[in-house]
């Protein structure tokens, strides 16, 4: 009844995502979201549309037969163009300006408009002269954003009785400008021989906004309504603070109707209180000043357009109800699923969602699930593309009481419909190992609103998403593998290498292994030139080649997540695939004694942004494919060779946002996600073990096979040698020590696109060097129980010697953690 239990636990839209998957299941998922270009009516946007890369990991662990633990981790990095305002087309908010010779759209949110007597905007030549006729076309004013990363972790601890369950959970979501913490309680009761299930839950979320206002539009935004919530920064920026609380409750009911059908239904309620604005959205207000009407056309008006931060109510009550039906279709061995959801809130929004999918198994472990979804919502009562106010606006002085209490031009609050469709293809490899691939296309259109009357087509946009998930169910795997092979695997892992060593062992014929590797590395503190500490004056003078340096990196952190999939077609040849996802963040500070900002490129307009915001990037990185060849396998001594390629899937053209009419340019080499080149990665590994002792050594290298990547440069080649020794402390735990020497060349060539060179990290000579590290690690093998055969490793690499090329930030060290399971 596993599926039934799961069904009862997952009433979509009502149940807090609980321990949904089966017991002892681990999963990892990558997703990519890509938006299409926005229609700007005559202006071609120079901004890249929004894209989001996300990584998700989840696990369900059975602590005892009745106690279940579930955890989820998600991170996403987004960047791209987003609407900051809506205005009549004649405002020319996206006009192409090139005072700095760099062509690109800069959001213009202040300006002038002319109206006829009915307040229809009149068409001008762009220089204040009317050219005849009205033009009511609206358009979004776009702004762009540098990449930003959000990370979220949550857990759930549950207890199950024979016919009931209860769980408690919580989590935290962190991003630069928004933090939210949540707790929840859930319960389930089964009746009627488990044909009927009642479920319910309560949740509480507390969120803090700490939004740094866009430097580019800051001087042009009226923030008067939020003065008490605004903090002013040393660099002249403004940070809006706000907090909100959400309380939620839901009740769900599911019922088996007959041996082929079940129904689920439920209601939910959420009460929200506090700051619910989008801090980056403004509303254009056309102020018609009686004293300026000498500029007005005959029978018309002249307006001075100002941008005000949007204002939403501080309270929201939301109700939703859903009704789902699932039917098994005997003739096709398929499942048909319908779901309808009705939503109502006191902001005036009513919404309907219809979803349907057809799950069709195809045999040999394959299944395909096409799905379709339609969503329609009314506009919020206070949604308005722009406002007109018959009063003067004089340097922020005006009567706010003559504006509505709330106003927003966020298209998410407009009336529209959205149609989406997609397909999920799933393949079960071994019993308990599943790969799911999904695709979806989504189109948001005012014209698709149920009953008509939606927003104009200027708000229309579309996106597509792809995702891939690997799920491993250990219970199913264990039950499908026989006992003797199990013992064999345990033996194999008795001599595990330190967690930071890759390619440390081979599998025997028909072996299959899945694993996950995590690596974190950190840099911080002082700057080094070669091995020597250097002060700000030296960096200013010498760190940036022929130019002066203005900023220096203050901290850098990198997190890398790798999937490790290995298969042994024969004893002497193993194949490996290692997709990677990574994210990086850095902070910077001004260098003391640097020349004035006006001497920096673009008059240093990006410097405040650099030193106050820091930078983040994240997404898919290069993928490794390897073949390992057995050379020697003589009792206590093993030798194998690896040949591999690193395929350049990682982006090497990530840009910083435009600011003050100046391109941000590419973010520096160290924050790009890949090497940009096809790389050859050979290795030779020796391992030995005797009694409780194990040892090994490895030589590995990275040779760039191309002269340069798409953005014009090539990272330095790498050569690394390492040796280690380990000792089994108990039959399941071992400790190890190792030494590593690494040498990496400087970057060859340089970016062939614009980069705003402000600090040492922007110069190719300040990369690579010679590094000595000592590692301390622990490895554990689960000796028995359901999780037998799982191995875990952790290692800290401590730098003991650093000899950098050029000027770079000192190293703090790196942490590796691994999990592997062979079957």
């Amino acid at each position: 009844m596993q599926a039934l239990t799961a069904a009862a636990l997952t009433l979509p839209g009502l149940m807090l995502p609980p321990a949904q998957a089966a017991d002892e299941e681990f999963g990892v998922q990558y997703g990519h979201y890509q938006e299409g270009e926005r229609e700007l009516f005559g202006v071609e946007s120079k901004f890249r549309p929004i894209e989001v890369d996300s990584l998700q990991g989840s696990g369900n662990i059975k602590i005892t037969d009745r106690v279940k633990f579930n955890f989820n981790y998600t991170q996403d990095t987004w960047s791209g163009a987003t609407p900051v305002a809506t205005a009549p087309l004649d405002m020319r908010g996206n006009r192409t300006v090139s005072p700095d010779v760099v062509t690109g759209a800069t959001p213009i949110i202040n300006g002038e408009l002319f109206f006829d007597s009915q307040l229809n905007p009149l068409r001008t030549d762009g220089f204040g002269a009317l050219v005849g006729g009205t033009d009511s076309q609206l358009v979004h004013t776009l702004s762009s954003a540098s990449p930003e990363t959000r990370k979220q972790g949550s857990f759930k601890l549950g207890y199950e009785w024979d016919e009931a369950a209860a769980d408690v959970g919580g989590g935290i979501s962190l991003e630069d400008d928004y933090e939210s913490r949540f707790v929840n309680l859930g319960g389930r009761l089964d009746f009627n021989q488990k044909l009927t299930t009642l479920s319910g839950g309560l949740s509480y979320t507390s969120s803090d906004t700490k939004a740094r206002m866009d430097h580019d539009i800051l001087p042009y935004v009226d923030t008067g309504n939020y003065d008490s919530q605004i903090e002013r920064t040393g660099e002249g920026g403004k940070i809006i603070h706000g907090d909100r609380k959400d309380w939620g409750a839901h009740l769900g009911f599911s019922q088996v109707l007959n041996k082929n059908a079940l129904i689920e239904t439920g209601i939910g309620y959420t009460y929200s209180h506090g700051y619910m604005e989008n801090p980056y959205k403004v509303v254009e207000v056309a102020f018609i000043d009686p004293e300026q009407q000498f500029r007005a056309p005959v029978d018309g008006y002249f307006a001075n357009v100002q941008a005000l931060l949007e204002q939403r109510p501080n309270v929201r009550h939301q109700l939703n109800g859903n009704l789902g039906y699932k039917q098994y279709i005997e003739a096709f061995d398929a499942a048909l699923h319908f779901n309808y959801r009705y939503y109502h809130d006191d902001w005036g929004i009513n919404a309907h969602t219809f979803e349907s999918d057809w799950a069709q198994p195809l045999g040999h472990g394959w299944s395909v699930t096409p799905r379709i979804r339609y969503y329609s919502q009314d506009a919020a009562d206070f949604y308005i593309p722009y406002l007109v106010s018959q009063q003067a606006y004089d340097l922020g002085q005006f009567n706010r009481n003559r504006l509505p209490a709330n106003f927003s031009s966020d298209h998410r609050l407009s009336g529209y419909g959205a149609l989406s469709g997609g397909v999920t293809v799933s393949k079960q490899f071994a019993k308990g190992v599943n790969l799911d691939l999904g695709f979806e296309y989504y189109t948001h259109q005012g014209g698709l609103k149920l009953g008509g009357g939606g927003e104009g087509d200027y708000t229309d946009f579309d996106f597509w998403t792809v995702n891939g998930a690997l799920k491993v169910n250990l219970e199913a795997l264990v039950s499908s593998s026989d006992h003797s092979s199990h013992a064999h695997h345990q033996h194999q892992h008795g001599a595990m290498a330190p967690a930071g060593v890759m390619f440390d062992h081979m599998l025997s014929k028909d072996g299959f292994m899945v694993g996950y590797r995590y690596m974190y590395s950190s840099q911080g503190g002082d700057m080094l030139h070669g091995s020597n500490l250097v002060g700000d004056q030296t960096i200013v003078a010498n760190g940036c080649g022929p130019n002066s340096c203005f900023v220096k990196p203050n901290s850098m952190a990198m997190h890398m997540h790798m999937l490790d999939i290995m298969y042994a077609p024969t004893d002497w040849l193993n194949l490996m695939v290692m997709p990677q996802f990574m994210d990086m963040s850095m902070t910077m500070r001004r260098l003391n004694g640097a020349p004035p900002d006006s001497e920096a490129p673009d008059d240093g307009v990006h410097i405040p942004h650099h030193v106050e915001n820091g930078h983040e990037t994240g997404g898919i990185s290069d993928m490794g494919v390897y073949a390992l060849f057995k050379v020697l396998d003589a009792g206590h001594h093993h030798l194998h060779m690896g040949l591999g390629l690193s395929i350049p899937f990682g982006d090497v053209d990530i840009e910083l946002r435009r600011n003050h009419k100046a391109e941000g340019g590419l973010i520096h080499y160290g924050m790009q996600l890949g090497s940009g080149t096809l790389d050859f990665k050979p290795s030779v590994t020796y391992t030995g073990n005797y009694d409780s002792w194990s040892w090994g050594a490895q030589l590995n290298g990275t040779k760039r096979l191309e002269k340069s990547g798409e953005t014009g440069y090539r990272l330095g080649d790498i050569f690394q040698t390492t040796a280690w020794g380990g000792y089994n402390l108990t039959h399941w735990l071992s400790a190890n020590v190792r030494g590593v020497y690494t040498v990496q060349g400087a970057i060859d060539g340089q970016f062939n696109q614009y980069i705003d060179q402000l600090g040492p990290m922007d110069y190719p000579n300040n990369y690579g060097g010679r590094f000595w590290d000592v590692g301390f690690g622990l490895n554990a093998t689960v000796p028995g129980g359901d999780l037998a055969g799982n191995t875990l490793g952790v290692e800290w690499l401590q730098p003991v010697g650093t000899d950098y090329n050029g000027y770079q930030l000192d190293r703090d060290g790196s942490l590796s953690a691994t999990w592997h399971y062979a079957f």
Partner: protein, 74 residues
């Protein structure tokens, strides 16, 4: 404010729909219901991701805001 009576009426169908009726289905007759593709949520991770995409793009995501999900301020 919500009109409580109206709201209750609107949501009444969701409360009562489940009581429509049910036949006795013995445990040994539940094989079809137990198939993986009959689970209400066969792809929970994918559903979470899709829900996150929708919630950052649609106004009606609330009502199940139990899970953080971030600002979605873009």
């Amino acid at each position: 404010m919500l009109n409580t009576r109206k709201a209750l009426l609107a949501f009444l169908p969701f409360l009562t729909a489940g009581l429509l009726g049910c036949a006795e289905v013995a445990p040994w007759e539940r094989g079809n219901l137990a198939k993986p593709h009959m689970a209400l949520e066969p792809y929970p991770m994918q559903s979470t991701l899709r829900a996150h995409n929708y919630s950052s793009r649609e106004a009606a995501a609330g009502g199940n805001a139990a899970e953080g999900g971030g600002c979605g301020c873009y």
